[in-house]
Subunit: 343 residues, 2 copies
């Protein structure tokens, strides 16, 4: 049914004619066409909550960049909001929560999100996107991993150290587990709703994975990721991207409900393969800053990356989202270089 | 001559009666006594540049926390300033450079710092500290590693991604190498002056090591670290702390002019020992946020850390600097737990 299902086949470990490619934050400010739509809206959250516009910007990179998948335009913080903790997206400063979670009593007041009702606008955006894509490429749904969501709910904003969120783990471990459980249940509901609306695969983003110690990660992060992936992996392929968490690659390799492990650019391809094992697909992992370079340097970097990962069980991507000041032509050069690579 | 030379002996790989301990940022806002001195001064830079006060706050943690070494109170950005690129320390926002380095022409205009003349105030602070310490414990001198210094000189301030600095590496590699060479030469002069003034050991801080890819790190960071350590290691023990650069541990293990490798809390002790080899001393690596916990949890965390590293070739520390809002009593608990550990 899909005209291009390279990514789905790669995620399932099947051999593919060429390495599929998409880019984190491909629907975003790097595209002038996105900025035009964005300018029509009052703010980032309004765009997220307006399905027809969210669908439009989701499809743009498929047309403009030629990527092998779309990823629904949304935000990981729709989950705290659906659980009863509202946030604002402050221009050029990031998310900000008026109320934060500081105790077990605060956790008890939160509700478990019902994906279909509380996050109907995301499901509607997925349905519209699927119509617009008309089976050209698969659509990726996503959510934040529970630790990253907790980090924002406790810290109340972005942070270099997330020391308030980490203090919460050290000083109130029971409240932390209660919160993580509620987030995980909400996320399962949410992702099932996304799959029901048409998402063809799912990625969990653990953006702040790398600030936990290996022990903390095994206690407060990985078990809740496993709950989520266990609940959905029989329906669609699942990717886990634990940014900067070099120390958890071996354990992610052993997580049977995860098909693909995302890698950042500090993680060597061959070392990661050895740690993760032969049975997983790996995703990544070019440095986004490579795309500031000239075309020749980008093409050379892409060839090195592809040769390091090999021709199968690899989905080409960056090791982080596109930076907004990158040039669209350089991004396109990256995508073309992957697609034109000869082994 | 020194009454307590545990750290020096541990750094040289000798067996010690117990594991020595000090803390990054031990001279700082975590101590009320520091905040009192700081309040007398116009600003952070004034404190750095006033040797008698810099010496006073350097000695404070030896008296108050009971650590096994002092580290001279200063800033890694004294080097850019000594090379001709002035900076301001903006309260609660960090460093800010009015002019930044954007081209080879900018690099050519910089001078190579002469440690004894351009940084006489640091040398004077070291001499006063040595007098005040009266041989109780060793004094650690330090500098930033060249990549981290370049990052600030090009970016002009702190940053989540340092994408301008990394773009400089990708688009102007020759200018980057010229700048790194000038920084390395300046740093060698500076550290020789620190050693001449009385520093008993030296630590290089590569605070932004972890945002480079392994390849970029081997090209733009490690060779310049090696130049510096090669120039000083016959005089005093040298520690290299490449924060977040999990991928470079094996290469640091092979750097013969480095005695001690600093580890952050994401780096497992046993895995790091296997990567780095048996001949180096390891330093670290508790999560600073452990010190938010109650005493029992801190003591348990210390025991786990010490048992993981073993009784020799280990200098206990955190995996990053103390956070300013930590409680002094908790910090003291950490130090005492190391000193009272029984094997």
């Amino acid at each position: 049914m899909l005209q291009n299902d390279l990514i789905l086949r790669a995620a399932k470990g099947e051999k593919t004619e060429r390495t599929p490619v998409w880019l984190m934050r491909q629907a975003g400010r790097v595209l002038p066409e996105y900025r035009e739509v964005r300018a029509k809206m009052g703010g980032f959250k309004e765009l997220v909550k307006t399905p027809e516009f969210a669908a439009e910007v989701t499809i743009q990179p498929v047309d403009i960049l030629g990527v092998d998948a779309a990823i629904i335009f949304s935000d990981i913080l729709v989950i705290p909001e659906a659980m009863g903790l509202d946030y604002q997206m402050v221009e050029s400063r990031g998310p900000w929560f008026e109320k934060t979670i500081q105790s077990l009593e605060d956790v008890d007041k939160l509700r478990i999100a019902n994906g279909v009702d509380d996050l109907h606008y995301v499901c509607e955006a997925i349905r519209l996107t699927k119509q617009g894509l008309a089976n050209r490429v698969p659509l990726i749904g996503f959510a934040g991993a529970p630790w990253t969501i907790l980090a924002y709910m406790v810290e109340g904003s972005g942070s270099k150290t997330f020391s308030k969120a980490k203090r919460f783990l050290y000083t109130q471990p029971e409240a932390a587990h209660a919160l993580l459980e509620k987030i995980a249940q909400s996320t399962i509901n949410y992702l099932r709703a996304q799959i029901g609306a048409g998402a063809d695969m799912i990625q969990l983003f653990d953006s702040w994975a790398g600030i936990l110690s290996p022990e903390q990660y095994k206690t407060f992060a990985l078990p809740y990721i496993a709950k989520i992936t266990d609940a959905i992996y029989t329906h669609v392929p699942v990717t886990v991207f634990a940014k900067d968490a070099h120390f958890i690659r071996k354990e992610l390799g052993a997580l049977t409900s995860c098909h693909t492990v995302g890698l950042d650019w500090t993680m060597d391809a061959r070392e990661s393969r050895a740690l993760i094992g032969e049975h997983k697909t790996l995703q990544g992992n070019a440095d986004p800053c490579l795309l500031y370079a000239d075309f020749k340097t980008i093409e050379h970097g892409v060839a090195e990356m592809l040769n390091a990962f090999g021709p199968h069980k690899h989905i080409a991507n960056l090791g982080h989202g596109l930076y907004p000041d990158l040039n669209k032509d350089n991004v396109r050069c990256f995508v073309d270089a992957v697609k034109n690579h000869t082994w």
